[in-house]
């Protein structure tokens, strides 16, 4: 009879934490949480994610597209993708914090490392999959190699390329949750500092991180469908 009620109570407590500041056991009467703090930490998490994703894109996208265009470096593009999956995020962030230092400047490259493999691999395979006769036709009408990449290969590879970017964005956002270990306050602060925020804070943090990830994935999926040309959509139906 009482079984579902503690569950409702814990999620209810978490939602209360999101909107109204709560008492804490360790802050000496100072209240923690509340809407302002939630918004502040969400924005921070988004900022960290956006910076790292931008850095990963700047590095991995041109390399992946170029390698795919030239049809070279398959081992590099695919190998890095697989090796990247095996990097334990916790160890990476902890190591960067311990050896190089804490703060946004050190955290951003570390998070970018997590985003690079999926972007690189998908950019490479996406471009490789583009029909070769189409590329030859583009060359035949006098397009330069850069034009071919930008106006033929990239548009046709958008679904695969965006798939990599979505994977990278989600992985970076997820890892940004442990950003407090590198001295950057993100939503993970609610989760990691259990003694300050209490059970309600931990659950609220988890809930917000999950919702943010779903929202990010949803908006990138929307962006992908906007970027995909109508002709390509017809083909997949």
């Amino acid at each position: 009879m009482s079984a579902p009620y503690p569950l409702l109570a814990s999620f209810g407590g978490a939602i209360e934490f999101i909107f109204t500041p709560q008492e804490s056991n360790v802050t000496g009467g100072k209240k923690v949480g509340g809407f302002d703090k939630v918004v502040e930490l969400m924005l921070k998490q988004l900022e960290v994610t956006a910076l790292a994703l931008a850095l990963a894109l700047i590095i991995a996208l041109p390399i992946g597209l170029w390698l795919g265009h030239r049809g070279k470096g398959e081992l590099l593009a695919i190998g890095i993708g697989n090796a990247g999956r095996a990097i334990p995020e916790l160890a990476l962030i902890a190591l960067v914090a311990a050896l190089i230092g804490v703060g946004l400047l050190n955290l951003t490259p570390a998070l970018a490392v997590i985003g690079i493999p999926p972007i690189l691999t998908n950019a490479y395979t996406g471009v490789r999959q583009v029909d070769r006769p189409t590329v030859d036709a583009a060359r035949g009408i006098g397009m330069t190699e850069l034009e071919i990449i930008r106006r033929v290969e990239l548009p046709m590879a958008i679904p695969t390329v965006m798939g990599g970017i979505r994977g990278a964005a989600i992985a970076i956002l997820a890892t940004a949750t442990i950003a407090p270990l590198a001295g950057v306050e993100s939503l993970g602060d609610f989760i990691i500092n259990e003694n300050v925020y209490g059970d309600n804070g931990v659950l609220a943090g988890a809930l917000l991180v999950a919702l943010m990830a779903l929202a990010l994935e949803g908006s990138l999926a929307f962006l992908q469908s906007r970027l995909t040309s109508d002709g390509l959509k017809l083909k997949t139906v």
């Binding site: 503690p6 916790l90 902890a94 990691i192 659950l203 988890a206 991180v209 999950a210």
Partner: protein, 247 residues
Amino acid sequence: MTSPGLLAAAGQVGEGFFHERSSGTLPCQARTSHLFCFDWARENIDRYGTPTVQHLELVVFSLLLGFAVAFVLALLAHRTRWLRPPLLASTGVLYTIPSIAFFFLLLPITGRGRDTAIIVLAAYTLQIIYRNTMVGLDNVPESAKDAARGMGFTERQILWRIELPLATPEIVAGLRIASLSTVAIATLAVFAGAGGLGTQIYGQGNLTFPTTIIIAGGIAILMALALDIMLLLVQRLTTPWRKAAAA
């Protein structure tokens, strides 16, 4: 040998972490900026035994559970087409929720510990294994199925003796991707109170001691590599005709 001040300083960082084994502080341990302390590693390598076994257990159980569920879902979707979009969407949602958040969302329901970690890690593998299994089944040439039908195979026989064997490379490829990321993400299981190699990264004093982060992270990477090679062998053994075709 060691000055009390140094011990106190190390104690502040480590809170007993440094003193469990060694009676004094090793010279390279006190300097937190030191990249790798070989003396400490030599003396303490056996403390990684239990976490490594725990980690492997988490990974293997999650992969088995994830594979079982994803495989059944894929067979269902293979037979019942309208199930495909909702299954893809729901496994996608599970894949999108960051595992660390997922651990804590489950805490009020399944409590702290290994079960919670295994559920989350398995949920994370569903999308990859399900999608690869579907791709594998979809890629089976219609002509192969027609030939089997012509030989009098029932639909069930076609599934088990034609489609699944031909889909094995894709299915195992999915398992390989899933195992790589599961080994890495299982380091976060420490937040769910499930042990594993993460305890040697996130435990007391570990975060400021690069040596232990490198050892634990290194073991995780080696474990991922070993599992990947094992699955590659499974792939070779279960698809002997590929070798024949290549030769």
